[in-house]
Symmetry: C2
Subunit: 155 residues, 2 copies
């Protein structure tokens, strides 16, 4: 199984980018993840929500194929880390070829992207900035992958 993580636009905050790299490097030996940066809107006023979400949705759609899709959403299901680790493991053993996590931009995701999700999940009851979400998601995938590895070692 390959894991792809899609988000519109490059992460702007240098410290968050550094943290993403930190987890990606650690993941490389366990469960390689590919980051797919999709099209972000440019030069639009923040109030033009629909236009921005539309541009981002089209960018995401170009890169989503036959994946099992997990969208991050504040209205999604909250899991603890063990359940999340088990979820990834279950996808891996049940023949999912590509598991795609989709993290929206600062306005979230267009309804039609959310509708396409096989699972909507929330990282916290708290609202995290969309950039911080990227780093926290990577930490959770790393934690899940470590649990999987630990379990297979123990067997």
């Amino acid at each position: 199984m390959r894991i792809r993580i899609l988000w519109p636009g490059r992460t702007k905050t240098a410290a968050v980018r550094a943290l993403e790299d930190f987890y990606l490097k650690r993941l490389a030996g366990l469960l390689p993840c590919e980051i797919v940066v999709t099209e972000a809107s440019r030069g639009l006023d923040e109030k033009e929500t629909e236009k921005i979400l539309e541009i981002e949705a089209r960018g995401l759609e170009k890169r989503l194929k036959d994946d099992y899709i997990v969208c991050l959403s504040d209205k999604g299901r909250e899991m603890n880390s063990e359940d999340f680790g088990r979820f990834i493991e279950k996808r891996a053993v049940s023949g999912t070829k590509s598991l795609a996590f989709v993290v929206g931009g600062f306005l979230g995701l267009a309804p039609r992207i959310l509708d396409r999700a096989d699972l909507r999940m929330s990282l916290s009851k708290m609202t995290l900035s969309h950039e911080l979400c990227r780093a926290v998601l990577l930490e959770q995938i790393y934690r899940g992958a470590s649990l999987m590895k630990g379990r297979s070692y123990a067997k």
Copy 2:
């Protein structure tokens, strides 16, 4: 009201430290926070949980005075960001002089520190690394402070 954030030992992961600085700089103009790095155990095996927690507890006790104490704990109360912002605002207007957030080390906090808490809170159902918790807590305080500022602007 002043806000102090206490944790044992310097943050080791450079990218997390950079992210802490990022939020601390933004907070400086809104609601200044002081980070208090307390004593961390050294040279002890990870299995010596009680000894490590005892050393860290003593370090924290030296720096906790007459504060309103919030301990981060995975069994604590989950709040959304608005409730958290309102909580900070309420402490500020109700005369709390010092609001102290306590974040444990990789083994968490000793029971007697948790017992001293006026509030135990959890950032997420997911287990975040104790270092990542530091950055997420700062982001939430920044978010809360921005909400407070936004409200007072609107008045």
